[in-house]
């Protein structure tokens, strides 16, 4: 045993209590739960990306595309779409809130409030959604 290992400081450290972190740590606080929900939104988003790839692969095969689209009327597919929409909306909301913290815009000596930055993102989201809806409606 080295001299340092027997020093009072080393001896005190050896008697310190290290508290384990349980696997359910994320259930302890609402902030943690919301964080985990945000992280889990990647699963439905990945599922929807796979769905879009499948859809694209059938784009040039009209009978297969029609059969695929007919199958989408199944409640399971509708539920998946609703889940994906909710997940993406939640992720977008957390992303916009984060943008307010990350982007620092100053007007003179004052910082533009994070809520205004987030609000600008929501406004841009609304405009983009309306433009896409119009384009789809025209098509």
């Amino acid at each position: 045993m080295t001299a340092s290992a027997t020093s009072p400081a080393a001896d005190a450290r050896s008697r310190e209590l290290i508290r384990p972190v349980p696997a359910t740590w994320w259930l302890k606080r609402g902030v943690y739960v919301r964080f985990m929900l945000r992280e889990w939104t990647c699963v439905p988003v990945a599922a929807y990306a796979y769905f879009l790839l499948e859809l694209m692969s059938k784009a040039k095969d009209r009978p297969a595309l029609d059969a695929f689209c007919a199958a989408l009327k199944h409640p399971g597919w509708i539920a998946l779409h609703v889940l994906c929409l909710v997940a993406v909306c939640y992720h977008a909301a957390t992303f916009f809130t984060a943008a307010g913290k990350v982007l620092v815009v100053r007007r003179g000596e004052d910082r533009v409030p994070p809520a205004a930055i987030a609000g600008a993102h929501y406004a841009a989201w609304l405009v983009a959604s309306v433009v896409i809806a119009v384009l789809v409606w025209i098509a």
Partner: protein
Amino acid sequence: MAGDEATLEVFRYRPDDGGAPVFDTYRVPYRADWVVLDALNYVKDHLDGTLSYRWSCRMGVCGSCGMMVNGEPRLTCAAFLKEWHPKPIRVEPLAGFPVVRDLVINMEGFLHKMKKAKTWLLPKEPRTIEQGEYRQTPAELATYKQFSMCINCMLCYAACPVFALEPEFLGPAAIALAQRYNMDSRDQGEQARADALWSHEGIWECTFVGDCSHVCPKHVDPASAIQQAKMSHTTDLMKSFLMPWGKR
């Protein structure tokens, strides 16, 4: 009568006994203007003199009395009993830190991280006293002032699950203060702090849970500081990649 007394459930760890930690229950007088620290002082003075905890200023400045109060990191000098009364109030040491005894945590690791992140001014040019102070405009001060309000209370570390799971994480306060000096117009220490900040244990370990900012008693918003540091570092990397001839 329940209205006259508050119930404290206090975490006790006595290393000399070699046993597991326990919660001791104390009943103290309830007063609407008492904070949890007042109640702990009452226990220490009147009920159990062996209880160990840190405190100093009693006015939210020194950052010594941070503890978990009913699961939330709080300065006990600013946590009023009336927030929870008549429910029991559970007091524990700050989460994520090794416990030395009762409510006292070992803060050596935190201090080491402050040193590692060089959270002090590394001036652009040495100046003698005769040359006067390092001058700065109000606009330059405004860029970092919020991050300079940190009192090193470590509540942000206790709120951070990344720190609890990965103790090597540099952590919210050290990164916020390093970013504070990086943003200071008088400072030139960004490169000196780079190894600590840009490493895996630095800013990139943060997953942006954001609770560090919620619990900060001084509204420092360390989560914002870390994300701004990520943005700044990424921008510099992209610039060096796209414009290798340019000067940072």
